[in-house]
Symmetry: C2
Subunit: 188 residues, 2 copies
């Protein structure tokens, strides 16, 4: 399968997820800009979230109990299961690139806005890129004192995550808008 065919098939699936509101809203503008680049497409994305998880060791056996793609309130965390884990996960984006040059340029732009976690791997067709934020919170609910100070800590992390994501969005937007502008110029 060619890169273009794979991109077409992946974007078709993305349209389905968008229609069913299965993509978290803060990720959507970033996804749209990345997919406007002829040599890139997104395969999975999350803008960051607060998660309550029933941890059973392996990821496949674990169960999401609650997910918030926003800042939270004390009421959101009422009556959590005793065996659950409360977690903040940073944004994470998976992207495929046609060649190493565009993958490198993408990673460099991420790095310039402070995203240090991430890299590429060579795959069958092109390069797979992962970038992620660096906020970190995770603890068993039974060992947590869930009060306003914890909510404040979690929202501070969500805020830090959002700020980095906004810087990334602006960098991507300017890059792609210039690309599109130059492509239109050369068509004239």
């Amino acid at each position: 399968m060619s890169f273009d065919l794979k991109k077409k098939a992946t974007l078709k699936k993305l349209d389905y997820y968008l229609e069913n509101q299965e993509v978290d809203p803060p990720a959507i503008p970033i996804i749209k800009y990345i997919n406007m680049h002829p040599d890139l497409f997104t395969t999975s994305s999350c803008s960051g979230r607060v998660l309550v998880l029933i941890d059973r060791g392996k990821k496949i056996d674990s169960e999401k109990y609650l997910t918030f793609h926003r800042k939270i309130f004390l009421e959101d965390l009422k009556d959590l299961p005793e065996d659950s884990i409360l977690r903040v996960e940073p944004f994470i984006f998976h992207i495929e690139a046609r060649n190493i040059d565009v993958a490198s340029e993408f990673l460099q732009r991420a790095r310039l806005v402070g995203i240090k976690r991430g890299g590429m791997t060579k795959v069958k067709i092109g390069y797979f890129i992962e970038i992620m934020g660096n906020v970190c919170f995770s603890a068993p609910v039974k060992n947590l004192i869930i009060d306003e100070s914890l909510i404040k800590h979690i929202n501070m992390l969500m805020n830090r995550n959002e700020k980095m994501l906004n810087r990334f969005y602006n960098s991507i937007r300017i890059w792609i808008e210039n690309l599109v502008k130059n492509a239109n110029k050369s068509l004239k």
Copy 2:
């Protein structure tokens, strides 16, 4: 600067750190095997740790209060500062590779033993690789009930981290031993 000169300079620094016991013991055998590969060298490594951190927002301002590269006991966490963060960090290795083929092979071997977090970026000389484990624990001390059940949770994560690291070590060892064996054969 060439790859070989950079490797030589980096290994000289590593020798200094080893002499001063500044490298955590579980990482040493892995570092040694990686550095035996003519097209790879390590630039920084950690085998995973339990950390008490005074978090001041930016990494550079934050302060390590306690570090354990081993399983912990309840007594280890006595009288922690009110404004500190208790954290488990997974193993993390930074490696430079001479070319994309050896970087890809390295990442593929990591992936085969279950290490999904990581990737490469193109740098001035060769490729920079980061791989890391996936255990995760981090919470403000003032919101934690530090008791035997928390110690058990933390040690379970350290154990999970160690198991993945051992699988990685065995894979690297077999790879490099075969390389060295074949190199010796072709010299005969």
